[in-house]
């Protein structure tokens, strides 16, 4: 097994809303290994971005805080560090890219200057060396005629090219961990394919770990080694990409996958739907946070929050359906029952 570079342990992060603390992530735990990609998937408001802001400790600037638990990077606790130390880590060992590349770039500087600036700041390079390396980085992220492009401003580049520039800036300091929050959501599918390809080949070259945040199960299937499924601030299911897609088990994961239209011909039947809507985090239901929308909800689900049950060597779900059989086997009878529509409670 590869070395764990990041460990998130029972971490809650949240905000003060109307004088009340609301948790946007609720005691979440996961690890990221060197050279591997972890995808965090979930719908709007599930806490994906807050998770990444907490890791970067940028949440302090967004009016929030890490409330409990720990995050260790290379064995050292990040919440224990002060912001000066964090500044050295951000952009050096951990880099981050966001959904909208335009907002991450400064419109009044050329893209070459912006990459070079990052190199000067973090690596004390001379102006000349920094610019030379900036051009090299542009080449590495697949921008044609990088010498020309380096002298252009963001508005002279397409959205896909801007995202490549943002990736170049993130890579400038050879980070050990790259956090990409919906990096392709604003881009067209053909450009998305280019950017995902680029991230994967850069990972192969540099061995960096990647946390990729997405709401698109298709993107996760293509790039992830491991997957964390979040819902309303909590982790519902976690496992290797193979296990999650071969044996999706939590009713939310199953529902999410079944709701995706159009991977096969429309058979004339209605699409599967998860009834109801995603709750607001300050109005979470009791017990299992998914229970008002769950087809399989039982009495216990309304009152008591489920812990994780192990479903396989590398696969677990937070759902009471797996309580009895959890210890036994890889193929859970409960999941089989869900698949065959036998569970009626």
């Amino acid at each position: 097994m590869a070395r764990k570079i990041l460990e998130v342990n029972e971490m809650s992060a949240g905000f003060l809303v109307n004088k009340e603390i609301v948790k946007a992530t609720d005691r979440i735990s996961f690890n990221v290994e060197e050279g591997k990609t972890l995808c965090i998937v979930g719908e709007s408001g599930s806490g994906k971005s807050v998770t990444s802001l907490a890791i970067m400790r940028l949440i302090d600037y967004a009016g929030g805080a890490i409330l409990e638990g720990d995050i260790t990077f290379n064995g050292a606790s990040l919440p224990a560090k002060d912001q000066d130390e964090m500044r050295r880590i951000r952009g050096n060992q951990i880099a981050m890219i966001f959904q909208d590349p335009m907002s991450a770039l400064n419109p009044v500087f050329t893209v070459g200057d912006q990459i070079a600036e990052s190199l000067r700041l973090h690596q004390n390079k001379s102006d000349k060396d920094a610019m030379k390396e900036a051009v090299e980085l542009l080449r590495q992220v697949g921008i044609p005629s990088p010498e020309v492009r380096a002298k252009q401003y963001p508005h002279e580049l397409s959205g896909g090219m801007c995202q490549r520039v943002v990736i170049a800036i993130a890579l400038a300091c050879r980070p050990q961990l790259l956090i990409a929050d919906e990096p392709t959501t604003a881009l067209d599918v053909t450009v998305q394919a280019q950017i995902l390809d680029l991230l994967q080949s850069l990972q192969k070259e540099t061995g960096m770990a990647i946390i990729l945040i997405t709401h698109d199960m298709g993107v996760a299937a293509e790039v992830a080694d491991r997957i964390v499924v979040m819902y309303a601030g909590g982790i519902m299911e976690e496992g290797s990409v193979e296990e999650i897609f071969a044996k999706p088990s939590h009713p939310y994961t199953v529902g999410l996958l079944k709701s995706i239209p159009g991977f096969e011909a429309n058979d004339g039947n209605e699409l599967y739907t998860i009834k109801g809507t995603i709750p607001r985090i300050n109005q979470l239901p009791t017990g299992c946070r998914f229970h008002p929308r769950c087809e399989h909800a039982m009495d216990i689900c309304r009152n008591q929050e489920p812990g994780f049950f192990q479903l396989g060597q590398d696969h677990k779900a937070a759902c009471w359906l797996f309580e009895e059989h959890a210890a036994e086997s890889k193929v859970s009878p409960a999941r089989a029952a869900i698949e065959h529509g036998e569970v009626r409670v």
Partner: protein, 342 residues
Amino acid sequence: MSKQLSNETLIEIKHIKKYFPIKKGLLSRVVGQVKAVDDISLEIKKGETFGLVGESGCGKSTLGRVILRLQSATDGEVIYNGQNIHALGSSKLRDLRQDLQIIFQDPFGSLNPRFLVSDIIGEPLKVHTNMTAAQIDARVVELMELVGLDASRRNRYPHEFSGGQRQRVGIARSIALNPKFIVADEAVSALDVSVQSQVLNLLARLQKELGLTFLFIAHGLNVVRHISDRVGVMYLGKLAEVGPTEELYNKPLHPYTAALLSSIPRPNPALKRERIILKGDVPSPANPPSGCRFHPRCPMAQDRCKAEEPLLAEALPGRQVACHFPLVEDGALERLAARTLG
């Protein structure tokens, strides 16, 4: 979709063009034109859902708005009920408005936040009919129930509704006047998957119950496959390909369609498919390439493609494509994929 398709044309689009002037300087001198829609012809059949796909900026929304005459056309005709919509006087156009509606993408932005939901849904009734306040209220209740909203909440404001519920409000409003034809422009694109599937089912059900015809515009290729009977693929203001949904998705004829479809990420890690990765970016619609607009990015391009523009023509029964070398033969798609790897 497995429903029986009618052969009756509801709307015929003939050589529609929409150019936007590019202005510069103090005197707003026109220095060029964005050819957002550049000579598109298309028939939409009664009762069908026609899906329109293509990358950002290819002209989908512009075409949708011009079809409804929410924007004027630079050239061309849109024939509905034997009349060219773009040649109608204002009173005739007003009558037609009832038949032709639009649903927008943004369930937040397209609803006036200061209006009650009942006013939003009832507004077209107020403008276009002589119904009394009580009649309008009764119709609003009926419409809300039809789209699966709790009618007892009609006297509330949009912000008190979730994204999916707001999209239902927009749908209820668009069907208030019993329209025949609805342009749905990215109507489900902003919704989460679990809510998106609810709205897609609603649209399919309304179509069945009310006999609606849809032009369904979206960049989400899976959603379009699910809901459409036929699909048109646009590239830089032109139709690259038109065909029945499953035939087009299973055997694309235009190299651009093939590349687009191969880029869809699939939720199945066992399927590591070969993507056709296109080089370069979409060129500007102000200055489209000569000949075939796709030629600078096309893995199959030959000399002829640079010089001569391919016209949309039937290449297989019921399937139109604008390409000099369409992927008609067996194995053509595989050869195309192979070319992009090296």
